[in-house]
Symmetry: C2
């Protein structure tokens, strides 16, 4: 049975919503249906500029989007502090929720959102696009292969970008009342997710933020680092920052193999992405070269990762809408674990760099 | 004036001495002259198998090498615990000292060695080969260029290799009476050196070892990590281990640029080595790809890095011997700074992961 595409309403006209609007258009089972902004003119301009069909609804409020009975799902790219209000309301109005990251200011707020989704039977997924790239699945195969990768020992993740003066003064991500988690919530979210992904989502036992956190004058994190430790001795560290050149590294080291990729959040190119692996690496006899050398792998994709994310989200929504399926619990679980670690890093900074136990 | 090559005596027949013997042969201003071992048969076998000339001296003790008046310089690849005895003795006998790393068990021992060298007017250099690769100089240019790299913000270094069962039971690097610094002294030495190199040898203000250190049953470090912090807010972390697949990463992130290399200690190939840089990296308009993308740089070298090290060492020795020059202080300074940070990491582990100030 061919089912109609899932109809999306977008709450707000954030920059990132342009990319997601295109992804909705590219995704065969998703369609742009409505956009709401506090200014109807802004919403209309957004719809015009982002490939919305002529028939799309343009609203002067977020509420109006949620009140439209034809909207199946909403994409929420609002500032983090507004997530709890609008994601809960969306769920209560039976809208499936694609929620921009960071999903909430803390796990308490996230739990309120997840409960609302659960009691309404709607799907929630966070918009961590790289999870949906076929490269990610390919790398997962490598990490899961004991003969190639072995037992995971350590993960290093780094996501930085050099924000300009305007960003550092005006972006919502440096405002305590909007995205209070700053660089930790923005780029750090991805670092934490990459680490959890690498360890197949086993939560660390403890987290320690590392001295050197940079705060702006309002106390919002502009750069920080942390170290994570698991029960079995695995370790991970990450560094995230708005104050250094764009860098997006994940390194995963196992007993037998090593994985590197340098563009984990946004691949260098849209239609292909690479990673490198080394397996049982050693040296030649005189230790003047490597044998074997690392090898490079390239994964191509017809659809960009954000369109694949939309396709997966709409597939789940379609199953619920047309086949009476239950929401997929994997995605909210991943959001929640990411938030738990993020909260622990923040707590460690706030407590003067104490080790913080991670509680599920 | 063409001066005769510097005559080397080697103390002991360690595995690494094979590579260095070849390097002495390859280096135009160095020559293999003598080898001493506690067993004269072992020394003779070593000389036969490692390209020593027919005329080379083969001795049944280290003392005999030091007592040979024609030996200009010694290479000391003995276990770290023996460095203080033999490096001091070598200096007292007016032999220039090429000392395997880690140079000493602690900075106190190193200072005794450095004082002996200074009062004898002999050159000392540690055998950190990658410092001498032309790639290293090329990368230094990049890091020093403010318009390309900007201000350094963070360094990540990782050096691991998967030691086999025999190594973990029998190698000198897991024996508390021989190389008591274990993985920290062996692979960790390189991580620390790479970090110091990246920051142009400015010592960090403080060091914190990260929980997760693995010790063997004798208390020798098999794996550990640490975090370093500088006065101006720069940060670095490293991970070193005998328990994970061969990985050799350095990432240096500045305000304008990023440097990556994945074979920092031993290049993948002997005659060429690569690194990648990105400069003022950003995204395309819809944030679906990078602009500009990182670029790859390859540096070729006629002589392998260890032969370049020998050439530099012998050049300095020759200046002293033939031109009455003074020993170059840069090299012992680099050894000492590396040791200071190494000592601080060890102290942090021993004090239960306290932050340790680095004292010069």
């Amino acid at each position: 049975m061919v089912t109609p595409p899932i109809k999306f309403g977008i709450l707000g006209c954030a920059g990132i919503a342009r990319k997601v609007s295109r992804a909705i258009t590219l995704s065969p089972n998703s369609t742009l249906y409505a956009v709401g902004s506090r200014s109807v003119e802004k919403a209309a301009k957004f719809a015009r500029e982002n490939g919305f069909p002529e028939s799309a609804k343009v609203y002067g409020s977020y509420d109006a989007v949620l009140d439209d009975p034809d909207v199946d799902a909403v994409y929420i790219p609002l500032p983090t502090s507004l997530h709890i209000k609008w994601a809960v309301l969306a769920a209560q109005k039976k809208k499936h929720v694609l929620l921009e990251k960071p999903v909430a200011l803390n796990v308490g707020e996230l739990d309120a959102i997840l409960e609302a989704c659960e009691s309404s039977g709607v799907q929630i997924m966070d918009a961590t696009m790289w999870m949906h790239h076929p490269r990610t699945a390919k790398m997962r195969e490598f990490l899961s292969d004991n003969s190639m990768f072995g037992e995971l020992k350590s993960v290093l993740s780094c996501f930085t970008f050099a924000a300009d003066k305007d960003f550092l003064e005006n972006d919502i991500r440096v405002k305590p009342d909007l995205d209070a988690l700053g660089a930790l919530g923005d780029v750090g979210w991805y670092c934490i997710r990459s680490i959890l992904w690498a360890v197949d989502f086993e939560l660390p036992k403890s987290v320690l933020a590392l001295r050197g956190t940079v705060l702006n004058s309002s106390g919002v994190i502009l750069a920080c680092s942390a170290s994570l430790l698991w029960e079995d001795g695995k370790t991970a560290t990450f560094h995230c920052s708005f104050l250094a050149n764009l860098t997006m590294d994940v390194t995963v080291v196992g007993t037998n193999g090593t994985l590197h990729f340098h563009d984990f959040v946004i691949p260098f190119e849209e239609k292909k992405a690479s990673f490198s692996t080394s397996i049982k690496s050693g040296f030649n006899e005189l230790v003047t070269g490597w044998e074997p050398k690392p090898s490079q792998h390239t994964v191509t994709t017809e659809l960009p990762q954000e369109a694949l994310m939309l396709s997966e989200f709409s597939r789940l929504v379609g199953s619920i809408k047309f086949e009476n399926a239950k929401p997929e619990k994997k995605w909210p679980m991943l959001s929640r674990k990411t938030q738990l670690v993020l909260d622990a890093v923040k707590a460690s900074i706030e407590r003067g760099y104490e080790t913080v136990e991670v509680m599920n």
